[in-house]
């Protein structure tokens, strides 16, 4: 069974058919996806800037990391769920799209980032506050997170620009 036929099977499920064919369902899911990116993605960026010592410097790292943690988790779950529904409902279309795969790779790297830095940075924000200067490991974690979380929505947007025939981004006029 090829990957493409798996994509077709996913698209053929009743849930994905419902998402694709019911009026307004897809746009509403996309609106929720984008709203979460705006609301919670912005929080991720501000957390990273705090770890870099560039923003919210009057707030402790523990308050910023701990205070926003649950909201970012909820936002992430909604974002991913909506993203999966959108991708699944058009799986065969997404399959050849390099920006889709780039986005999936970046999301995988987010998981790797969490595995590496959660135990040594994010689980112990109080220790970062006690240090005379923000430790390098925290700054590296923040910088990588910034790069990942800026790249993910950009790849997401570029998915819509891909034209299979040409294999490159179309001009704006042709995109509309």
């Amino acid at each position: 069974m090829s990957l493409y036929s798996i994509c077709e099977s996913i698209q053929g499920t009743s849930l994905m058919t419902w998402v694709e064919q019911t009026p307004w369902v897809y746009p509403i899911i996309m609106a929720a996806h984008l709203s979460c990116i705006a609301l919670f993605g912005g929080m991720i960026l501000m957390t990273d800037l705090r770890l870099l010592g560039l923003a919210l410097r009057d707030q402790s790292i523990a308050d910023v990391v701990g205070g926003l943690r649950n909201f970012k988790r909820v936002g992430f779950v909604i974002m991913v769920t909506c993203g999966l529904l959108m991708a699944g409902s058009e799986a065969p279309t997404y399959y050849p799209n390099p920006y889709f795969w780039a986005k999936m790779t970046l999301l995988l790297l987010v998981g790797v980032h969490a595995l590496i830095f959660k135990p040594i940075v994010y689980d112990h924000p109080e220790e970062l506050d006690k240090a005379p200067v923000i430790p390098t490991r925290a700054k590296v974690a923040a910088l990588l997170s910034l790069i990942l979380w800026v790249s993910i929505p950009l790849c997401g947007r570029l998915i819509g620009y891909y034209e299979p025939d040409e294999g490159k981004a179309p001009q704006a006029v042709r995109n509309r």
């Binding site: 984008l34 609301l39 912005g42 800037l49 909201f71 704006a172």
Partner: protein, 156 residues
């Protein structure tokens, strides 16, 4: 007729040429629009979470506002300028879009609200009820802007 002439005038501009006639111009402008919008809304949301009593219990909304306003301003400025460039790429099409009109009005209301009611309340020590109402309206307005923007793209 005057509107038609104005739109025709707006259509023939250097920004439209750049966005419409280069491979990545429109996409790059859109990327700036999206990323800086997240920065602006993320910072506003941090203040809103404090007003809602859901985060940062050890500090005040006024302090958070003081710490985030520059990022909010930079985020909104880049978002608006990138948005204006996107609009200039096809002013006639956008002007005729009901969703664009909805988004433009929602954005205007959201910005006015942010720098008047929201700023005044967040800068003071609001009662919990006032804080919750002001933050809820703020979130609703910004989600409306996102939704409007989405449908501009989907239905264009």
């Amino acid at each position: 007729m005057q509107i038609d002439a104005m739109l025709a005038f707006l259509q023939s501009n250097a920004i439209a040429d750049l966005l419409n006639n280069t491979e990545w111009g429109f996409a790059i402008a859109e990327c700036f629009h999206i990323v800086f919008f997240a920065v602006a809304i993320g910072t506003i949301m941090i203040v809103d979470l404090r007003l809602l009593g859901l985060a940062f219990p050890r500090t005040t909304s006024a302090k958070l506002l003081h710490d985030t306003w520059v990022y909010t301003l930079i985020g909104l400025a880049v978002t608006v300028f990138a948005g204006m460039a996107l609009f200039l790429s096809a002013p006639r099409m956008y002007s005729l879009s009901g969703w664009f009109q909805f988004k433009a009005i929602a954005l205007l209301v959201a910005i006015l609200y942010n720098y008047t009611v929201h700023y005044k309340v967040a800068s003071s020590s609001p009662s919990p009820v006032v804080g919750v109402v002001v933050a809820a309206i703020s979130i609703l307005l910004w989600v409306s802007v996102v939704t409007g923007g989405l449908f501009v793209g989907l239905l264009a």
